[in-house]
């Protein structure tokens, strides 16, 4: 029997999220490598418009659960939709994105189906009838290479790692999934947008991070100005989060977020082992620190030894000039 891969479509504000496009593209590639077929499932309210997006990434059939109860995400509602689509489609492998929603849904779905769950996968391919994946542990201090059977598997792909690309735009078979009997016992009442007017650090393509070198919370505006000029998310070391200078949602490291942006600018961050674990896979790392012996310089592509208070404002101006010019 040909392998069946099911991708879970995640959307916000009527659009499929970028990380979900990556998961769809990965699902299509894995199905191709195994000589199988790919399907997708979309849950929500008024989501028929997203069927074409899934089809455009290679889904031959799209399962839709369209219901008032699914208007906002709930673990139980979305798990029911995905599990039912998985059973209807006979999915061997389910792929979703390891976003906040994916990490809440993926394990619940896996337990419901009795499937193994591979979290935060950063590499995946089919070889010799097995799925070979890589995933980090210990916040990236170790990289595990795993072989999994091509059945009974939920794969959560880390955002910003896999490419996303179009794959045909055929007219898919659509199958509706009924969830009208489901009544979630945990319901979202409202979504409160973060007070910081910057990109979320987990999703940011560029991150500007601050450490103890900033000397106090009153100096964070210097960092924010650079972040805004770069269109960057704001990260922070554990030391400054524990000191209460900035909210925990900004913490990068083993008890914070693990990030992998294309550019990471560490400002006054010394580079403790648990911080490095959370950002070492960034594509390009810039370190600015007054201590030339700071461990952060060992993982940096570009190092600047100097005073943050002199360098940051000048850096912000220089970035603005370059961005403004083109």
């Amino acid at each position: 029997m040909a392998l069946k891969v099911l991708a879970i479509v995640e959307h916000r504000g009527g659009e499929v999220r970028k990380s979900s496009l990556e998961a769809l593209t990965l699902a299509h590639r894995l199905a191709g490598e195994a000589g199988g077929t790919m399907a997708a499932v979309v849950a929500g309210k008024g989501v028929s418009g997203l069927v074409a997006v899934a089809a455009g990434r290679g889904a031959a059939s799209v399962y839709t659960a369209d219901h008032e109860m699914l208007a906002l995400y709930s673990t139980e509602g979305y798990a029911a939709a995905a599990a039912r689509a998985a059973r209807k489609s006979g999915a061997d492998v389910i792929v979703l994105s390891a976003t906040a929603q994916g990490k809440d849904l993926g394990p619940r779905l896996a337990a419901r189906l009795g499937y193994a769950y591979l979290a935060d996968v950063v590499d995946a391919r089919v070889e010799g009838g097995k799925l070979l994946v890589s995933r980090p542990e210990y916040a990236g201090k170790a990289l595990l290479k795993l072989a999994a059977p091509m059945s009974k598997l939920v794969v959560a792909a880390r955002p910003n790692v896999f490419p996303s690309g179009a794959a045909g735009s055929g007219s898919p078979e659509t199958v509706s999934v009924d969830v009208s009997d489901v009544s979630p016992r945990a319901k979202v009442l409202r979504f409160v947008t973060s007070a910081q007017e910057t990109v979320d650090v987990a999703e940011a393509d560029v991150i500007v991070a601050g450490g103890r070198g900033l000397k106090g919370p009153e100096h964070f505006p210097l960092l924010l100005a650079l972040a805004q000029a770069l269109g960057a998310g704001v990260g922070a070391s554990r030391a400054v989060v524990d000191a209460g200078w900035i909210d925990h949602e900004h913490q990068v490291g083993q008890t914070g977020k693990t990030v992998s942006p294309t550019l990471y600018v560490a400002c006054g961050v010394s580079g403790a082992i648990q911080h490095l674990a959370g950002m070492r896979t960034s594509k390009c790392i810039v370190a600015i620190n007054k201590d030339p012996e700071a461990p952060i310089f060992k993982v940096a592509d570009y190092g600047v030894v100097g005073d943050l208070f002199e360098i940051l404002p000048r850096l912000t101006e220089a970035v603005k000039k370059v961005k403004g010019g083109g």
Partner: protein, 258 residues
């Protein structure tokens, strides 16, 4: 209220993690074993709830040889007793197996609420709380940074951290609540607590006591590597103005990142 806390013992976040001689496991010799940092927030929330509403806090764990140390820590902080499934195989097992074993431990206690840390800092899967909730057929709230349990103990309001903000949810109890950093400020153990912990019970049970068959993994580890990435280590020289300009030039012209 009867409150259960699931707690895992992990290598401290200061640990250097290197591959073992077999190439398929991590060399954990010499690491310092601690209570998983996120579980500290779970335990703290449980202790505060007990202080407010009365009841009992029971700690549940699956662990290896040193697990009693972590249990003593939890008891010193104020937990009333601990129940441990002591088995190296289950300690190392995948989330599907661990959640089944934890569910068996939870059912034995029938608590009103179960607290977990949002993830363990060794495997980083963030899978066990949601799987446990599914196995118990309870609702879940993961990555919780704020929690209020209603007076009648039947529902709770929780704030969950998600990309770009927070979700405020209402959840029926019993439920699994997975704590994120920021939920509270965990206490430290005092001498009285440490002395008192010696008199509290740690019940050690085996997989057979729970009717569990040995774990069977479907996923195999081929290799464990230490990720390393070659870095340019290029230092930008000059005064602040020159450094800023040169850095931006390099990132713009050479790296094409800005």
């Amino acid at each position: 209220m009867k409150i259960a806390v699931c707690l895992k013992q992990v290598p401290s976040t200061d640990s250097r993690i290197k591959p073992g001689a077999d190439g398929v496991s991590v060399d954990l010799s010499g690491v310092e074993w601690v209570v998983n940092p996120f579980d500290e927030y779970a335990l703290e929330e449980a202790l505060r709830l007990k202080e407010k509403r009365g009841g009992e806090v029971v700690v549940l764990s699956i662990g290896g040889d040193r697990i009693e140390e972590a249990m003593r820590t939890a008891l010193a902080l104020g937990a009333d007793r601990a129940v441990v499934l002591k088995d190296a195989g289950f300690f190392r097992a995948d989330a599907l197996t661990v959640s089944a074993a934890l569910a068996a431990l939870v059912k034995r206690e029938s608590p009103d609420v179960v607290f977990c840390g949002k993830q363990a800092v060794d495997n980083d899967e963030m899978a066990v709380p949601a799987m446990l909730a599914e196995r118990l057929d309870w609702p879940q709230a993961t990555v919780v940074v704020k929690l209020e349990i209603a007076e009648d103990g039947k529902t709770a309001r929780a704030d969950r951290e998600v990309e770009g903000g927070r979700e405020e949810i209402e959840i029926a109890l019993p439920a699994v609540i997975a704590a994120q950093k920021g939920l509270n400020e965990p206490r430290y153990a005092n001498l009285k607590g440490i002395m008192g912990a010696k008199k509290k019970t740690i019940e050690v049970i085996s997989p057979a006591d729970l009717g569990l068959s040995p774990p069977a993994a479907t996923v195999t580890v081929l290799a464990i590597e230490q990720p390393s990435q070659a870095r340019k280590n290029r230092m930008i020289q000059g005064d602040a103005a020159r450094q800023a300009e040169e850095l931006v030039r390099v990132l713009h012209e050479e790296e094409k990142l800005i």
